[in-house]
Point group: C2
Chain length 397, copies 2
């Protein structure tokens, strides 16, 4: 837990637009009872957070802690801390909150008998599944199962990366051919998130799919971080237009539950081969039901596409204005990132943004990643731009 400098509250809501004035609207309604802007009262972490840090340290490793949150006072895109600060959250529990803190639809659902039974009677799903289980699966995981073939938007850097991508593909094929045992599977993230938001074009993934097919290697797409709408489509691989669907797709985070989709031929020949006590959690499947409903009802994929374009255009403009600081603005939807000149400057910016009431996170050695919720809208992005502008000017000095 790093201690930031005290920054007095210094922001008034003002119109801020990097792209010539017009803030786009989206079909998504406002989050009921959401805060209007971040509110910073103390250093972050504040005195109460520091006190709790000491208490936690007695029983658990607390060193990765940013601050202690007050979840009952968090709302929509804003996270409250124990010292009364309100932060715009663009990190979202490492990209795992889909539809906002204290979403009223989730509160309503949590009070239902169906949810309460799922919470307090946790079953061994492989042995004694609840009678509702087949229909819960249909309404949650299967309602958003990857399909495989979709249109895709051409990515901007496609041409310039072609040579490097071809080199990488040749290397993969060489490895598969020469490995000392047959290669069973190949796992790939659509955007390599923790590694620094490294990404490749649809061309690359199309070639990779054909290459794996050619050599009888299963293609596993790891959508733990990219899945669930953040790229503007439900699955990032929906952008690729593959010749045949991936063999396995993994998920977690915004899905509220971790697991994988697979084709029937990947079912083990014998029962109990892939087994543990709980085999999942019905509660988290019920939660996914509500989240999927909300994504559809409130047009959250459209919202992500519009907000993502607005965020990307703004970051591009920041890159033009601060070329000595920002490089490589990249990504899809709101799943965006950019590089800073060094890990130190990156950390300085993350801390400075936090001190101003915006929670972000790094990835790779010197990138900042944007991981807003699916309900993040252009007006929230403006609050970020405002504070980002001040931060970059401070760094400049």
């Amino acid at each position: 837990m790093m201690i930031s400098k005290v920054v007095k509250p210094q922001y008034l809501i003002r119109h801020f637009s990097t792209v010539g004035g017009k803030v786009p609207t989206t079909p998504t309604p406002e989050f009921p009872g959401e805060y209007r802007e971040p509110k910073v009262k103390t250093v972050i972490p504040g005195p109460q957070s520091l006190d709790l840090y000491k208490k936690l340290n007695a029983v658990q490793d607390p060193r990765a802690t940013h601050f202690f949150a007050d979840y009952s006072n968090s709302r929509g895109n804003y996270i409250a801390d124990v010292d009364g600060n309100i932060l715009l959250d663009l990190y979202c529990q490492i990209a795992s909150i889909p539809i906002g803190y204290n979403n009223p639809e989730l509160i309503k659902a949590a009070k239902s008998d169906k949810w309460i039974s799922a919470i307090i009677n946790r079953p061994s799903l492989g042995v004694l599944p609840p009678k509702e289980w087949p229909s819960i699966i249909q309404n949650s995981f299967m309602a958003v199962a990857p399909k495989g073939l979709h249109n895709y938007p051409l990515a901007a850097h496609e041409k310039e990366n072609r040579a490097e991508e071809d080199r990488c593909l040749a290397e993969v094929e060489h490895l598969i051919k020469t490995w000392h045992i047959p290669v069973a599977g190949l796992i790939v993230e659509p955007i390599q998130a923790e590694g620094g938001d490294n990404w490749a074009t649809p061309y690359f993934f199309q070639q990779l799919r054909d290459l794996t097919k050619r050599h009888g290697v299963s293609m596993i797409v790891d959508e733990v971080q990219t899945g669930m709408g953040a790229t503007g489509k439900f699955w990032a691989h929906d952008h690729w237009n593959l010749s045949s669907p991936p063999d396995i797709v993994t998920f977690s985070k915004k899905m509220q539950a971790a697991g994988f989709y697979h084709n029937i031929e990947f079912r083990p020949s014998e029962s109990y081969r892939n087994f543990n006590t709980w085999m999942g959690d019905p509660l988290r499947a019920l939660e996914l039901e509500v989240v999927v409903e909300q994504i559809k009802k409130n047009h959250l994929l459209d919202n992500v596409a519009i907000t993502g374009k607005y965020l990307k255009d703004g970051l591009d403009e920041f890159q033009t204005r601060f070329p000595h600081l920002l490089r490589n603005v990249r990504g899809l939807g709101t799943f965006l990132a950019f590089d800073l000149p060094s890990p130190q400057i990156r950390d300085q910016i993350v801390n400075s943004l936090r001190a101003k009431g915006v929670e972000t996170g790094g990835c790779g050695t010197e990138a900042i990643r944007m991981r807003p919720m699916l309900i993040c809208q252009p007006n929230h992005i403006n609050q970020f731009f405002d504070r980002f502008d001040t931060t970059l000017k401070e760094i400049k000095k």
Copy 2:
């Protein structure tokens, strides 16, 4: 999912005691609104279960399924199925239900704002823990943290196993001394559960602790299945009277959350070494708070000791009466098991008991393991004895 023969309901509650008439009482109150006995209406799995099996098969591997449960109609020690059958549950979701289905204290807690916030705002605990987290940990995990030094009851077969245990200890020491790299840790279950409820005496574990200390090897006690009171003490290793506490103790199942206790010297030198997105689930820690409260308030460890003795005495008597069927009745508290002559006869007995309304489970190649909840009382055991008696007589024929 195996299909049992139809067995018409054939039981009336009657006084059944294997040990000369007196059924002991325990300080634990009756579970409010619990069923009085099992009630079997159909074959198990019944037609509704079979129908759901087909539906589930379309989207998930259902082959380990016993039947589909109706959790909203399950109460205390009894699990309801989708076909209207009520079974006494001595398997308990592979030993993971501590204080009964639809426990009213858990229902009450699940409706509280504290729980609802924990359910719908799932944090990245390593990064942004809730302000309640240090106190939740104190009231849940730390309230039952292993202590190390305790009295222990002498085990029955201690003398006859001494030679074998000494052989095993010598073998372990030889392996540690001759392994091609230094041995970092040794992991051991107090009773090797899935493997067939194999167990060793306190002498064995005392020697093992001293041996690991002698060679600088960490001793990890895996209490996933044995922890949380089933042996009549909170941790099975509380029975051992070790010269120094284990270095690491793992837990899961009845604790509602999986994890491990460790000493401060096992904290990684750097942050983020042992890390993932969620790092646990506050909901399950809150659940443990309630369970621990109930264990204390309702004297559930005493209940387990009394019920366990009653169950063990009864099984010993069955062993005397059916020596060609039952062997090696063993265990501590209600964590008991016995061997049958073959895997086939074991499965036949498990299926026959299920058809009569008692859910049990096998372990190892030919054992049946008893894994009742902490609230299981002698009157429930009588219902099992009753049906077990009939089953063994049927097998005899």
